[in-house]
């Protein structure tokens, strides 16, 4: 999970100043936009070998939800 959060934070142009953990609502993080969403999809494919789409990202609320999809 820590590694995943670290990878996620790398996707933002500026690292969010808020504390980020598994309960963070990722779409409310400063800087979250469609490009970060697409970056997330690519990062998951590159780093975890998993294929997720925009629908899957949309259905998740927290970082923990995202990790759950990837870890499934």
């Amino acid at each position: 999970m820590e590694n995943f959060i670290s990878n996620l934070l790398e996707l933002f142009d500026e690292k969010p100043s808020i504390k980020v953990d598994r309960n963070t609502v990722f779409k409310e993080m400063p800087g979250w936009d469609s490009l970060v969403a697409l970056s997330l999809i690519v990062m998951v494919s590159n780093n975890y070998g998993k294929s997720i789409d925009g629908e899957a990202v949309r259905n998740c609320i927290t970082i923990g939800d995202l990790f759950g999809v990837i870890d499934a």
């Binding site: 970056s39 990062m43 990202v57």
Partner: protein, 249 residues
Amino acid sequence: MPETVVITGATSGIGLALAKNLISRGTRVYVVGRNFEKFSSTIYEWCITHDFADLCKWVYCDFSNLSGISEEELKKIPQVDGFVNCIGVLPISPLKLQKADDIINSVNINLVSPILFTRELLRLNRIVKGGAIVYISSINGTKIGSKAHAVYSATKGGISGFVMSLANELSTLGVRVNAISPGTVDTPMLEQTKALIGEKSFSNYLGQYPLGLGSPDSLVSLIHFLLDGGVSSWITGQNFVVDGGYTLN
């Protein structure tokens, strides 16, 4: 009406629709590609079914490999009235996450290899005087710049620049060179976009097209027009946007 045309990317999408259209009108088509099985199961199988097998020929070329264009194979191509480059890949990724190998592969397939292939056709004197060349470009890289399409846009912008200069260079031969920049067309390449963004986002995206999603057949008539010197003899060096009105907004 062109008698003989060379087409890359003729086993799917726009190239396949074009090849079928030309062959059904009596044009001999040389299909250039690296996957003979795909050639056999797509355009050639269609030709056999419709009794056009003698109008469809295969030429091996691997556009992903800059050494994959061999003179020996190209010599199988006679002098042709036209060349249409439909081959392309669509790498979708924010640039900072894009692997170098993927970038290089995309540039090779979409830009460098078409240039090298064109060079060989010209060097081997395979395009008749008064012939025509058409490259499939894209609105990305010529009219718009979508996020996560930087490399793709670079290749398509490159093709459009190449077309302008080459058109000038080949004018003394009467060979016309033009590009077509489509918007989103319903081809196998589109599946990648759908898979990435999901059905709902894709549906929202299509809502931005005043005339809806394009089909490969949306482009075939224009390509045919540009190949036919009888009707487009004074058109060269141009980029035709065919996008269902997308860039109006």
